[in-house]
Amino acid sequence: MPDRNPKHFGREIEPYLDKLFHAAYRLTHDRADAQELVQDVCVRAFENHEQWAETSTPLGWLMRIQYNLFVDGVRRERRAKVVPLCEVEDRYLASGDRFDLESRTETSQRIARVQLAWRKLNRDQRALLALSVEGYTLAEMKEITGMSIEVLNARLYRARRSLMKNLEPENPDAESREKMEVRR
């Protein structure tokens, strides 16, 4: 009989939390949302702990739950963000050096642009790209998503293309010219 003790289950699932969180952050690009998603995954896994006990690929099984929760997930309530001081300290180790404001701003702007483009992707696309960037192979992604390799290839291509398109600066004139080129 699988262990139904939540504490024990929490310990069993602990080795996978970092990977789940990193993938969740790739999906959401938001720490709080990622944390909430991982929490939901763990609760869902606990509710299905019989399957957990039987699976030979625990991380793949958890990632599949995470993928489904994210793709099918209802829109999450955005909440005021909690700022635990201990987290603040952990994230930013003390540095007496004065950081380079200029390069930091450039990096921040690049990140913001990518995040904006990312948000314009649909949930399916974000989910597949996140898995891919996290290093999952097509075979693993097939297990997680239930899609065939061919479909995965196609959708990854489309997602990357959409992302790059979303990153293009808005320039209606250029777009018009491009369409004219196509027509010719």
Partner: protein, 607 residues
């Protein structure tokens, strides 16, 4: 190396183990193939995005969620769960999560905790909560105890500003939990507002109300009287509040713990029966007052070195555009106070730099209404002019940065800008950001207002664009296809691959005529084109085209096309009529190869 090889390497993440020869071949291919180069660029760009550290409280939060889940499953079918939660945002500097819930003992048996349980729990000072020397011991506002001047509230001008509440109301709430949540929240806000010089760094507060009586099942409309003495005699309630609270596994004791078993932060567990001589609001108020006392944190040490170190922490956070707005605001708020206390010209200059960077990224009114005002007391006239110039020159850029944060809290400030700002570029940028939230009623209403009445045609058009139906019509693409004369297979394929599929997203509405038009195009072309076009359509992975595939399977004269279609349809076996069509093909198709292919698909287990 061809595209297929390059894609295999990319998608199977095998490039880390590539041989030098393969790497060179790949480089050559990417140099000559724009499509593959684009895919690699996208992948590498995403891979280069910063990876955040796993939150330290993740494990503890999950343990808590599992405990709650476990308890909920135990009482499933016995009593509706009550979870009324509230999120307090105290200024941008603090938040507290309140959860109020009923919990049934396993088996419905009454349970009363031993009195000694409460003594074992107590309050954990935040200074003991793994924060090292960053935060000194708690202080009590207006205590007048002298001592360390760094904790003397009279020496700080830090004010407690806005209080916001978001209430989370689950479907299965019941009256008691909701009422208690209301009372507790009101009492907590009142208590917080009484504290004059307070910075709060957030701590989640979980409160659980446990009903002991197994036969107590209030109807949803049941209203508790505030006078507890009127309640049914067999109700016994205890409370626990604090960060990372969990019980001991059987639900009779409470303590604040981390995943490692240590203390996680502030907590308070009444672990006492609900006082029958005290009305609910009074009790809620008393609990709130106790918690506020626990939460009072003096952020500021006395020595210059610690001040400088802490300033560096918050300076970094304040400039981190990937962080939440509230987090950055908290950090800036703290940095300002630290700089003020440090009274060091270098730190003051760095503070000014930080604020200038923020000024280039975030509208001051959104970040913190008083930040810019306070900044004005720190900065020289020239610096103020520079900051104002940055605002004036790049409003669109600032707003785009905000949009990039994906924070729906921009709706309020963006609505103000769209409706009232005098600058057309600012209104236009605000319209574009609000457009991202066009499904939110407030954003939609503001967009409608702008679309109807903005002075600028450009703003009206942009606002209107976000209000129109998302349905994408393929007419323009199809027009291009037609214009090409349908003679250049390669060109048509490129167009189909490159243009059609992007409109066939599952989330988009597809023009209802599109399938018919595409089917018509496919029908009147030669075999090679039909095969290519069908594969191109499936590239989009949309079930919208299943009727086209079914029609091709039944009627296309080419066995090659029909076999292609079988392969496509194998991915849509959950759709109506697909298996029937496959069975028909397996039994009746004129081509033996088609019949065999259909039979093979049917033999495979239906996913």
């Amino acid at each position: 190396m061809n595209c297929s090889d390059a894609r295999r390497i990319l998608n199977d993440a095998a490039h880390a183990e590539m041989s030098i020869q393969d790497g060179q071949a790949l480089d050559r291919h990417l140099g000559g193939c724009a499509d593959c180069a684009m895919e690699w660029q996208a992948q590498e760009m995403l891979a280069s995005m910063p990876v955040v550290k796993v939150p330290v409280n993740l494990k503890a939060d999950i343990q808590h969620a599992l405990l709650v889940s476990g308890k909920n499953s135990k009482r499933a079918g016995m009593r509706p769960t009550v979870v009324a939660g509230a999120v307090l945002l105290i200024g941008a500097a603090a938040a507290a999560l309140l959860q109020v819930g009923f919990h049934e003992q396993e088996g419905g048996e009454a349970h009363v905790a031993a009195e000694s349980d409460s003594a074992a729990i107590g309050i954990v000072p935040i200074s003991d909560a793994g924060l090292g020397g960053l935060v000194p011991n708690s202080f009590t506002a207006n205590s007048g105890d002298g001592g360390d001047t760094s904790t003397d509230p009279a020496s700080t001008s830090v004010e407690l500003f806005t209080v916001e509440l978001t209430r989370l109301v689950p479907a299965d709430q019941n009256q008691m939990g909701r009422q208690f949540g209301d009372w507790f929240h009101a009492a907590l806000v009142e208590e917080l507002n009484r504290v004059p010089n307070l910075i709060l760094i957030a701590a989640p507060i979980d409160i659980e109300i446990r009903s002991i009586a197994s036969d107590f099942r209030p109807e949803p409309e049941f209203v508790f009287d505030r006078d507890v003495s009127t309640w049914p005699a067999d109700i016994d309630i205890r409370l626990a509040a604090g960060a990372g609270i969990e019980n001991d596994g059987v639900g009779d004791r409470w303590r604040a713990v981390s995943a490692e078993g240590g203390s996680t932060g502030m907590s308070r567990d009444s672990s006492a029966m609900w006082p029958r001589d005290e009305a609910v609001p009074a009790y809620a108020a008393r609990l709130a007052k106790d918690i506020v006392e626990d939460l009072k944190i003096s952020l500021f040490p006395a020595d210059a070195s610690s001040l400088a170190t802490q300033f560096a922490h918050f300076e970094t956070i304040a400039a981190d555009v990937s962080a939440e707005v509230s987090e950055r605001s908290t950090a800036l708020f703290a940095a300002e106070e630290l700089a003020r206390r440090a009274n060091d010209p270098d730190i003051t200059a760095r503070l000014v730099d930080s604020i200038l960077v923020l000024a280039a990224q975030i509208e001051d009114g959104l970040l913190n209404s008083s930040t810019f005002t306070r900044f004005s007391s720190q900065a020289s006239a020239a610096e103020m002019d520079a900051a104002r110039a940055q605002f004036a020159e790049a409003p669109a850029g600032i707003l785009n940065m905000l949009s990039g944060m994906g924070d729906s809290r921009v709706i309020g400030p963006m609505s103000d800008l769209l409706l009232y700002d005098q600058n057309e570029a600012t209104r236009h940028a605000a319209a574009r950001i609000l457009g991202e939230f066009a499904d939110e009623p407030i954003a939609r209403a503001v967009l409608e207002s702008a679309a109807a009445g903005d002075a600028s045609a450009k703003v009206r058009e942009t606002a209107n664009n976000y209000l129109v139906d998302d349905t994408v019509h393929l007419e323009e693409v199809l027009e291009v296809v037609r214009d090409s004369g349908l003679s250049d297979l390669e060109r048509l394929s490129a167009l189909l691959y490159g243009e059609v599929w992007q409109f066939v997203e599952p989330g988009f509405g597809v023009d209802s005529d599109t399938v018919d038009v595409v089917a018509e195009l496919i029908e009147r072309n030669d075999v090679d084109f039909r095969r290519e076009a069908l594969i191109a359509l499936d590239w989009g992975g949309s079930p919208s085209f299943v009727p086209v595939y079914l029609e091709r399977l039944r009627n296309d004269p080419s066995p090659e096309v029909r076999i292609d279609v079988l392969g496509i349809l194998s991915e849509y076996r959950s759709m109506p009529d697909v298996d029937i069509a496959l069975e028909d093909a397996a039994a009746d198709d004129a081509s033996e190869a088609v019949r065999a292919a259909a039979a093979k698909i049917l033999e495979a287990q239906n996913p």
